[in-house]
Amino acid sequence: MDPVELLHMSVFSQSFSPCGRFLAAGNNYGEIALFSLSAALSPDATALSQKPVLTFTAHEGPIFSLLSTDCFLLSTGNGEISAWSWTELIKKNVKPLWTKRPNYKSSLEIPEINSMAVQSRDNSLVIGGGDNNVHILDLEHGVFKSVLQGHTDYVHCVSVREREAEVLSGSEDGAVRIWDSRTGQSVHCIEVYKYESCARPQFGKWISCLTTDSDWMLCGGGPSLSLWHLRSLSPTSIFPLTGCQRQAAFHQDMILAAGDGAFVSHCRLGGEVKAQIPCSLQSVNTLQLNANSAEHQVLTVAGSSDHIDVFTNLSYKAFSLSF
């Protein structure tokens, strides 16, 4: 890969393998690179172990979302979803198991797929994309079960609320919709930009990051990152972070958020920003915590660079993997 390509690379998505020893990262050229965490974290790691063990072109367009189930890696690109078997990928066999495309109304332009989430209750995949709809794919039978319509602009992010079997989706039109996955109806619609305390009109009304903890929801983007109590649908804390947050996650008793700005913010649930840990990227697109492995519990952060920062201890950046 020549230096100019590396310079213009952005990593949009990451996912850890079910065994926790590998990290897959997808970039804007449609390539997926597999990094071996056990090699990179071992005491005798060299500069070579920070390079990918496998790089292959998965799609023609940028890969905006990667998701791992317990034996598959699902990747989205160019409006389609491909599934790869982790065991095959570890053996360096890059043949996809299947490739599916949701039913798009217009056949003229192919909308991109921005985000995926898995509903483990009924083994289905929730997909949010550029056609303003949320599609649900049944992973058992491989058919698209339903389409949730209601957004008026493309869907940036989806999340699943396991206990109540609900799907949350945040979109460019500023609304976070809560859908009942059984009936396919929109149960609630929260327009975050209409709440004075959260709204930041200078950035817009789009919602780019959404994550839920069954009772609580974090959403941010144009409006400030805010913590919502889902039962009462009211914002409980607003986080005073400058810049738009692209990914947020609940971790133990903290909230990790990253987006514009070369740092990862650690915030408390009460609304104060505890720390901002610098990282080597200019802006962060994706943040992932490895929950699959006990000994490689790292946080990896990737964004507008060909480097992926690895944090072994949440308080500082340990090293970077590079494409």
Partner: protein, 200 residues
């Protein structure tokens, strides 16, 4: 085989030579003087036997010393073994304590998270007015409403009463008017009846 053991012997001798070259030399000297004493003709000098005995005693003494040192080393070894096992046990118990503490930390973090969620909710709830106050306000409003409806009823009753009274008044007036008209008419009739009778 012989070369190996020789090497070993030489190495051991060189190592054990801690007492200087004294011990070995003393034993050799003792041996030599003993053979000289055995092979010497006639009576030897007195000092000779005493010297030999003293060298023998010295040898025995140094042997006793080395034996003691050997014992001491053995006991030191035992001591070290004991300390070693002790330290190993401490290490395992420290490991266990660390695991316990990690679990404690997770528990404490969960508790802290719950507390913070509680605080966040409490903040939102505080913004809403107190339930007692709203109930009191509602009660006062209810009372006012009742009073006002009471007043309205009273006024309505009065209105009805006045209406009825006026109605009675008006109807009596009308009847009176009617009777007066009737009387007038009957008077006129009487008058007109009487006059033609008079005229005849």
């Amino acid at each position: 085989m012989g070369a190996v053991t020789d090497d070993e012997v030489i190495r051991k001798r060189l190592l054990i030579d801690g007492d200087g070259a004294g011990d070995d030399r003393r034993i050799n000297v003792l041996l030599k003087s003993f053979t000289k004493w055995c092979n010497s003709p006639g009576t030897p000098e007195e000092g000779f036997t005493q010297r030999m005995q003293s060298t023998l005693a010295q040898c025995e003494f140094s042997m006793g010393k080395t034996l003691m040192v050997y014992d001491m080393n053995l006991r030191e070894m035992e001591n070290y073994e004991k300390i070693y096992t002790n330290i190993e046990q401490n290490i395992t118990s420290a490991h266990e304590k660390i695991a316990e503490c990690k679990k404690e930390i997770q528990r404490a973090k969960r508790i802290r998270k719950n507390r913070q969620e509680y605080d966040a909710l409490a903040k939102v709830i505080q913004q809403h007015p107190d339930r007692h106050e709203t109930l009191k306000q509602l009660e006062a409003l209810d009372k006012e409403l009742q009073q006002l409806s009471q007043i309205k009823e009273n006024v309505d009753d009065k209105l009805e009463l006045r209406k009825k009274q006026f109605h009675v008044l008006l109807s009596t007036i009308q009847e009176l008017q009617q009777t007066l008209e009737n009387d007038e008419k009957s008077d006129n009739d009487d008058n007109s009846q009487e006059s033609p009778v008079e005229n005849e």
